[in-house]
């Protein structure tokens, strides 16, 4: 499916929040690597998909109405067997039914656990004056606590992406601080440039979080992704800001 087709489908359903699966499909179109993620509508499908993708896997609730999946017990990580997957499926669904009894639930997403890397956050938001702005920072608790992030206004040139990555205080961590593996910084820069190009050509996108991205010494991958569309196609045109 093309990016445009994904966006149109979400619009037809009168939604602005894309599910994780839709978000990742969209990012694939942008040329951004994501962890392959499949929808499972039933427990049996979840187990079957897990076997196909290979253990260990993660299950996450898929509902267009739930934004913070882990807050409602909708995420289970590191599942190593079919039995664990089945059990996790039941737990996730019952937790969500309890917290959001009326929410429409499509099922769960199944993805193979990504190999651990340095956690990064990459995102996009729109500024009333400058239009789309990208953010880069160290993910996990570092972004929560220290807000160690940098921004650049779209469109980004490669030099902007470089300055953005080098501009965070925690940059030495990316270079391999105290024996930690260094990460592929130029790959991250390339991701930022691709994302800039993508959001620039898709003004319908209002906000976007890739959180976390796992960065390795050879590339990086978006483990979770969230895309939010503008309320109306018209406001997308207005904020294009050219």
């Amino acid at each position: 499916m093309t990016a445009q087709a994904i966006i149109e489908e979400v619009r037809r359903a009168s939604r602005t929040l894309l599910t994780e699966i839709e978000s990742k499909a969209l990012l694939c179109e942008a040329g951004i690597p994501t962890v392959e993620t499949k929808l499972a509508r039933t427990k049996e499908e979840a187990v079957l998909t897990s076997k196909k993708l290979g253990f260990p896997v993660a299950l996450k609730i898929v509902s267009p109405e739930i934004t913070h999946k882990s807050d409602v017990g909708g995420v289970k990580l590191g599942l190593k067997t079919s039995k664990q997957v089945g059990q996790a499926y039941d737990e996730v669904l019952s937790a969500v039914r309890q917290s959001h009894p009326k929410a429409k639930v499509d099922g769960v997403s199944v993805q193979r656990m990504a190999r651990p890397g340095t956690e990064i956050i990459i995102g996009m938001t729109k500024d009333a004056q400058f239009g789309p702005v990208l953010m880069f920072g160290l993910g996990g608790i570092l972004v929560e606590l220290l807000k160690d992030v940098s921004f650049r206004i779209v469109p980004l040139e490669r030099e902007d992406a470089r300055e953005m990555v080098h501009g965070i205080k925690g940059y030495p961590l990316l270079e391999g601080y105290r024996g930690k593996e260094s990460v592929d910084v130029s790959f991250l820069e390339e991701m930022l440039v691709k994302l800039s190009r993508f959001v620039d050509t898709h003004p319908e996108i209002k906000e976007l979080d890739l959180n976390p991205v796992f960065a390795y010494h050879d590339g990086a991958v978006a483990v979770d992704a969230r895309v939010i569309l503008e309320e109306t196609p018209a406001s997308a045109v207005n904020t294009l800001n050219t």
């Binding site: 956050i121 995102g123 938001t125 400058f130 921004f151 206004i153 906000e207 959180n211 939010i228």
Partner: protein, 491 residues
């Protein structure tokens, strides 16, 4: 060339009109129209003037035409000073007369709320028919070369200079010109553009980027209309000439209602930080900083690097100056033992520091010693700029302030010209500080002396600041700008 010909041609009409109509003059000399007419008359506008008022007659010795249509000539620029509600109708008349450019001085538009916003919608309809608008709610253009001045600027300097100023606020445009006047800053063009209903900051900046009379651009903005285009224009312009921006209204760190993590972290302050990092604009944080930095750029011919030598007549000032350098990222390299020895031999044996900063231990050093120290530093140390702090470079200063015996004035005429001579001989920058600490009304003679000395230095290309901190801050802006853009040129 970054501006298209058509746009440039239209903007030229705002700055170099051959004929100008003032719409909204009246017998009341306090009315905006009459004040504007009298301001440009007094200032010396070089083109033809056509005041418009239904009753006709004569005003300030000039024939008044009842209607635009009665004017026999073509009109390049209309300046509209009527109440806001009358503006759309008047602009229609301008169109009928074939006028393509209008400065709308009148207030009462979007800045006043819903009614004003509706009025701007009407304005938009007229604009769509082809007329270009500066304002509304602005003071217009000051352009010494064509004899145009702001409504409030009949006494602005007649001579032009290298600085282009773009200011959203008319009041600030006025204040900056007046303050800068005594500091030797002269302007190529000043634009008070108000609400930026049609032409906005990016348009004016593009024009100034392309204007050969403008070497340095100073900007005051509160908000921008086309942020992305503004960024692109500033980025391109900064490669050609420095763009110094003072952004008003930064403290509102309203993190907007956002459903993403990214959105909640992207407050106004963060985005403007980004704008400055990305565009290469020089960031000023106050009117003083904007003016200080403009002075530094206007006088920085040679390339200046980070390495500074600091000379002061007092130890305390030397310490404060060194702190300021450190904070601003400037370096104070320690002098070699030989240079230290030379300097030591010229100064009293006690209480001096000679490593850099140099503490002269007296605010009135002997002329010969000062000359030799400055020459030694420039010829034997890798120093780009010398800053002089806390020193009486005047003849009268010491006597007036410290009660120094008159006999000490002997031979002090020489001292004033030392910075000029050394700068001339080495082609490197010297910054001077002349402190304002004597502010009593009775000491006006000292103040007059200080001002004329400041004027003397500035007209000879030596920037003058009231404090070391301000001198250092301004110099650091220039250094960072040059490092960024000379690196890009590969030089």
């Amino acid at each position: 060339m970054m501006i298209n010909k058509e746009q440039k041609g239209i903007l030229n009409q705002f700055f170099y009109p051959r004929s100008l109509a003032v719409i909204g003059v009246s017998a009341d000399e306090n009315s905006f129209g009459t004040r504007y007419l009298s301001a440009i008359l007094k200032f010396g506008f070089k083109g033809k003037l056509y005041p418009i008022h239904p009753r006709g007659g004569e005003l300030l010795g000039i024939k008044v035409y009842p209607r635009l249509g009665d004017v026999p000539d073509a009109i390049d620029l209309a300046v509209v000073c009527l109440p806001g509600r009358m503006v759309p109708g008047v602009l229609e008349e301008c169109l009928a007369k074939g006028i393509q450019a209008a400065i709308v001085v009148s207030a009462g538009f979007s800045e006043t709320g819903e009614e004003g916003k509706k009025l701007e919608l009407e304005l938009a309809k007229v604009r769509a028919k082809g007329i270009r608008i500066m304002g509304p709610n602005c003071f217009g253009v000051y352009c010494p070369r064509s004899g145009l001045t702001l409504l409030v600027g009949p006494n602005f300097p007649r001579e032009g200079g290298p600085v282009g100023l773009v200011a959203q606020s008319g009041q600030f445009a006025e204040m900056i010109v007046l303050q800068a006047r005594g500091l030797g800053i002269r302007f190529s063009k000043v634009i008070s553009y108000g609400n930026a209903f049609d032409l906005n900051e990016a348009d004016y900046l593009e024009y100034l980027a392309d204007d050969p009379d403008t070497k340095v651009i100073a900007v005051y903005v509160e908000g921008v209309k086309q942020g992305r285009r503004f960024l692109e224009v500033v980025r391109r312009t900064s490669k050609l000439k420095p763009v110094i921006i003072w952004k008003g209204g930064l403290t509102k760190t309203g993190s907007r209602a956002a459903s993403s993590h990214t959105g909640s972290l992207a407050g106004d302050e963060a985005i403007w930080d980004t704008f400055f990092a990305q565009s290469g604009a020089v960031r000023a944080d106050s009117m003083d900083d904007l003016i200080d930095t403009t002075i530094a750029f206007a006088h920085s011919s040679a390339r200046c690097g980070r390495r500074v030598a600091l000379l002061s007549g007092s130890g305390g000032t030397a310490v404060i100056g060194a702190d300021a350098c450190e904070r601003a990222g400037l370096e104070l390299p320690s002098f070699s033992p030989e240079v230290q020895k030379t300097i030591s031999s010229l100064l009293p044996p006690i209480g001096t520091g000679v490593r850099n900063p140099v503490d002269l231990a007296t605010p009135h050093p002997p002329a010969r010693a000062l000359t030799t120290i400055l020459e030694t530093i420039f010829s034997r140390e890798p120093v780009d700029t010398i800053i002089l702090g806390r020193m009486f470079l005047t003849v009268k200063g010491p006597t007036l302030v410290l009660g120094t015996p008159k006999s000490l004035e002997q031979g002090r005429e020489e001292i004033r010209d030392i910075p000029l001579k050394v700068k001339g001989a080495f082609g490197k920058s010297i910054y001077v500080t002349l402190s304002e600490e004597v502010s009593d009304a009775e000491m006006i003679e000292f103040e007059a002396d200080r001002r004329s000395l400041r004027h003397y230095y500035i007209t000879h290309g030596i920037p003058v600041y009231p404090t070391l901190e301000r001198a250092v801050k301004a110099l650091a802006h220039v250094v960072r700008y040059q490092e960024r853009f000379h690196r890009q040129e590969g030089g």
